[in-house]
């Protein structure tokens, strides 16, 4: 586990749970007193409920020889009580699950009292579960082989895991993510500068019309009406000002055009770069990542998340800077024209901000309720449409209609709430602003006509008109701010999700001087291989075997025995935790994965065909194969006949949205694909388990042809399909328990294989008739 990941876990535990992120030092010192200085804590967990089911702290600490329960005092970090017992006295661990409370009893020998009992909420379940797993393992004849477990890391990971699966948990701050996102702008520096300069010029130009209008009044209209200037001169100035006005407006729209276009382009470039980076990175990631994440969430990261970022870059970033600039320029202009009036307008600004904020908050609560009702409404639809046959069969149409109706009504009722809020807010808000304009008039009139009958006007009418026009512009950026903050929130969370993918390290990495085997001969050796998908639960507990080139091995055993794990390791989807896997005598971790996998073939239980023609699918691993080769492979796979019967033959589109092939047909296409690929090592994972008997025979024939001259590892539940295997490996609970030919294994009277075989025969006899 990387330290980065651990640090992230610690942060999550600290931020989202109210319990210590590591074992308190006082517990360590208490343990030192009973266990001595040199003793380490292998694993620990918190039991957060006491016998009265009150939230409290009792630490469960697993040492090499003892299990200790350290009870803390309710407040602070002081120890209340330490109890411990030797691990060898534990003869059983009983769990009892309640709605929110799990009770675990450590049982002693028969007739002896229980050693201890702990209670905890689900939050602790995974951490306690690891301890229970280790204890239970030591009760079996295959005790847990203690690896280098880091107790702090295991504990933090167990607690952080549910949180991490719920969100793109990410230790970076918002600001760091924001800057990283802006980093994507770098390659487009030129265009961005252009876009921003255009935006700024446009904003500056917005100041001009109002100013010119004022000038028109003060230098043309008023002086002419007062008889101060001649008609000709008035017109001369007027023409000049009008021409400036026209030029300004044209320029302004021109720069708006530049800005919109460039920023929209740049947004698309960045979304493209992000999509490319995620998709490239996805291909580098190990299979493990894809088994942890659901497909929908990966797809939405590549598609909709990058789209939101486009919106943010194209509009959010510029709108925000334009709004800031606009507010400053407007303030500047107003103060320049008349500072007293300017102050009069600016002082109520904070109140307006507050009003917008309060309104947003009230809307937020109402929106949440709408969202909830809406998701209820859609869930009724998505529930009944796929289940429509059941609805009809049980004649429940009326009931479902009523259910939908009531959900629909309650949604509409909820929308009224939000309509009430905004419909009353906006008229009031606008009324407030208009009142402010009236107040500005009231404040300005004495200065326009003089404060008393004999007073002199101290303000020119044109200045006042410009002022009013600026005031009208003022509320636009305020509104924009409210929208941008919402947009910003959305795109930041998208950015988090995207960066989380980008920051995931692939678990299987090639060495720098990775070796290419040309060709792979096909000898496979496992030496004491230990592996688990998580560090505590081992799936393979020390498996060793040797497979000669060209040999066919049948892998059998009950489910959960570790068969699929063995082939996952042979395909190097994962690396073993310890032990060695050797291909032709070379450690698999020294090989070039791409080169190795190109000589490896897999036929799975549920074969996957890509969207495209059958021809393209068969050629998937071998782009340059000739049509003759494709037909030969299809014939060998017993696929040629059914393909020819399709109206469009090999050109039939299959896969998603394509022609639907039956399971057996798809299987044979995938076998043809494997035959054409001509792998040196072939893996068959339950290739015939989901088809009927007739199809199975077809597939079996195809497989028999496919397995010639290669090393084959085949998993099968139906033992009859393995009759061609040279040897059978029987697995049970992570061990290779038996190996040999079918006949030899049947000789073992109470062998695992014998039992499996007898059971299948009985079942066959019982149901065959």
């Amino acid at each position: 586990m990387s330290t980065r990941n651990h640090q992230r876990n610690l942060n999550l535990v600290k931020a989202y749970t109210d319990q210590p992120e590591t074992l308190p030092p006082s517990v360590y010192s208490a343990l030192e007193e009973v266990w001595g200085r040199s003793v380490s804590v292998q694993l620990y967990a918190l039991a957060d409920l006491n016998p009265q089911l009150q939230l409290s702290q009792t630490w469960i600490c697993l040492g090499p020889t003892h299990l200790a329960l350290v009870k803390m005092k309710p407040k602070g970090n002081e120890i209340d009580q330490v109890s411990q017992f030797p691990r060898e006295q534990i003869k059983g661990v009983l769990e009892h699950f309640g709605l929110s409370c799990t009770t675990v009893t450590f049982a002693g020998a028969d007739g002896e009292p229980n050693l201890g009992i702990i209670r905890f909420t689900h939050r602790q379940r995974q951490a306690v579960g690891a301890i229970i797993f280790v204890l239970r393992q030591s009760l079996t004849d295959s005790p847990f082989k203690v690896q280098e477990l880091n107790a702090d890391e295991e504990y933090a990971e167990a607690l952080a895991q549910p949180i991490k699966s719920a969100q793109a948990a990410f230790s970076d701050t918002n600001r760091a993510v924001f800057w990283r996102l802006l980093g994507y702008l770098k390659p487009y520096k030129g265009q961005i500068i252009l876009g921003f300069v255009a935006a700024f010029i446009m904003t500056a130009l917005m100041m001009v019309p109002a100013f010119i209008t004022g000038r028109l009044i003060d230098t043309v209209v008023t002086p002419f009406q007062d008889g101060e200037i001649l008609w000709e001169n008035a017109w001369k100035t007027a023409w000049l000002l009008l021409a400036t006005l026209v030029t300004t407006q044209i320029l302004r729209q021109f720069f708006l055009w530049i800005r919109l276009r460039w920023m929209a382009y740049i947004g698309e470039y960045i979304a493209r770069d992000l999509r490319r980076d995620i998709y490239d990175h996805l291909h580098r990631l190990s299979v493990q990542y894809f088994s942890k994440m659901n497909t929908g969430s990966i797809i939405s990261r590549v598609s909709s998340d990058s789209d939101r970022i486009w919106e943010f870059i194209a509009f959010g970033v510029t709108e925000a800077s334009v709004s800031v600039l606009l507010i400053f320029s407007l303030t500047g202009m107003m103060m320049y024209l008349d500072w007293q009036l300017g102050l009069f307008v600016l002082l109520p600004l904070p109140i307006i901000f507050l009003l917008i904020y309060w309104n947003g908050k009230a809307m937020h609560g109402a929106f949440l309720r709408i969202w909830r009702k809406w998701s209820h409404l859609t869930s009724v639809i998505s529930d009944t449409v796929p289940g429509i046959r059941v609805v009809k069969a049980f004649n429940q149409g009326d009931r479902e209609r009523t259910r939908f109706g009531s959900s629909n009504n309650s949604y509409v009722d909820e929308t009224f709430r939000i309509h009430n809020i905004w419909t009353s807010f906006w008229p009031l808000f606008i009324l407030g602003i208009q009142m402010m304009q009236v107040a500005v008039w009231a404040f300005a009139i004495p200065r326009l006509i003089g404060g008393s009958p004999t007073g002199q006007p101290s303000m020119e009418i044109g200045v006042f008109v410009s002022f009013l026009l600026y005031l009208g512009l003022f509320f636009w950026p305020l509104e924009t701010f409210a929208q941008i903050s919402r947009m910003m929130n959305r795109s930041l969370s998208s950015a988090y999700r995207i960066f989380e993918v980008l920051d995931t390290e692939p678990e299987v990495v090639d060495k720098e001087d990775a070796r290419k085997l040309d060709p792979v001969v096909g000898a496979i050796e496992f030496k004491d291989v230990i592996f688990g998908y998580d560090p505590v639960r081992q799936i393979l507990k020390g498996v060793s075997f040797k497979v000669k080139p060209g040999e066919m091995i049948g892998l059998v055993g009950p489910s959960g025995a570790g068969k699929t794990t063995v082939i996952n390791l042979i395909a190097r989807f994962y690396d073993a935790d310890s032990g060695e896997i050797r291909i032709d005598g070379h450690d698999i971790q020294d090989l070039d994965t791409g080169n190795y996998r190109s000589q490896l073939g897999m036929v799975m239980q549920d074969p996957y065909l890509f969207h495209g023609t059958i021809l393209e699918n068969i050629r998937y691993g071998q782009r340059d194969a000739t049509v003759e080769q494709v037909i030969r492979a299809s014939k060998a796979a017993n696929a040629h006949d059914f393909i020819c019967k399709l109206p469009q033959g090999y050109d039939t589109i299959v896969g998603e949205r394509g022609h639907t092939l039956s399971g057996g047909e798809r299987q044979r296409v995938s076998i043809a694909r494997a035959i054409l690929h001509d792998p040196k090592i072939l893996i068959l994972d339950e290739a015939t388990s989901s088809v009927d008997t007739e199809t199975e025979r077809n597939i079996q024939e195809a497989i028999d042809r496919l397995t010639e001259n290669r090393t084959v590892i085949a998993i099968a539940h139906r033992l009859s399909t393995l009759r061609k295997a040279n040897r059978l490996f029987v697995m049970k609970e992570g061990y290779l328990v038996e190996e040999g030919t079918h006949e030899a294994l049947l000789q073992k009277a109470d062998g695992v294989y014998r039992k499996l075989y007898d059971m299948q025969r009985e079942l066959h006899e019982a149901y065959a008739l």
Binding site: Y16, T17, D18, L49, L53, Q54, L55, S56, L94, H96, G98, L99, S100, C101, T103, T105, P113, N114, I117, R119, T121, H122, R123, R125, P162, I163, S165, A166, Q167, A168, H364, G365, A366, L368, R369, R372, S375, H376, L492, S493, Y496
Partner: protein, 153 residues
């Protein structure tokens, strides 16, 4: 066959005394919300049903109280008494609350909403699977009610 006697050891282990050897069982209520005190399934350590108790009434008083104790533990959820804050953090909402068992912080998914319980009240499941219940929203203080407004009717 005698009526089975049910006992609970000090550590909380339920035992069914039916014939000779007492059998250690665990309690699985069939309808924890709809009929909390009826149809209680008692299962042995392999998960096989030893007894299905249709109602507590049919038992002697000692057995009944043993089962009631076990029920209290199995039905244990954290009851929210006060909500301090509900904050959105990207894909989750973080609730800070006081429960009848002490203070607690928990997280739920953004698109997860409290569930209405058949017997009244609401239940909230957090990311780890722990259940938090509110018996009667009207009994909460005004601040808590205001915070809850968006999440429950």
């Amino acid at each position: 066959m005698n009526a089975p006697a049910i006992r609970r050891t000090e550590e909380g282990q339920l035992l069914v005394h039916q014939e000779e050897q007492p059998i250690a069982v665990s309690l699985r209520p069939c309808f924890p919300w709809s009929f909390p005190e009826s149809f209680l399934s008692l299962r042995d350590k392999d998960g096989k049903e030893v007894l299905l108790i249709e109602s507590l009434e049919s038992l002697d008083s000692e057995s009944r109280s043993a089962l009631q104790d076990a029920l209290a533990e199995s039905r244990f959820t954290l009851e929210i008494h006060k909500i301090h804050s509900i904050e959105r953090n990207f894909e989750m909402r973080i609730w800070k609350v006081d429960t009848n068992r002490g203070a607690r912080t928990f997280e739920i998914r953004l698109d997860d909403w409290p569930r209405k319980l058949p017997g009244g009240g609401i239940a909230i499941v957090d990311l780890a699977g722990d259940l938090y219940t509110i018996q009667d929203q009207e009994q909460l203080d005004p601040t808590s009610r205001k915070l809850l407004f968006a999440y429950a009717d």
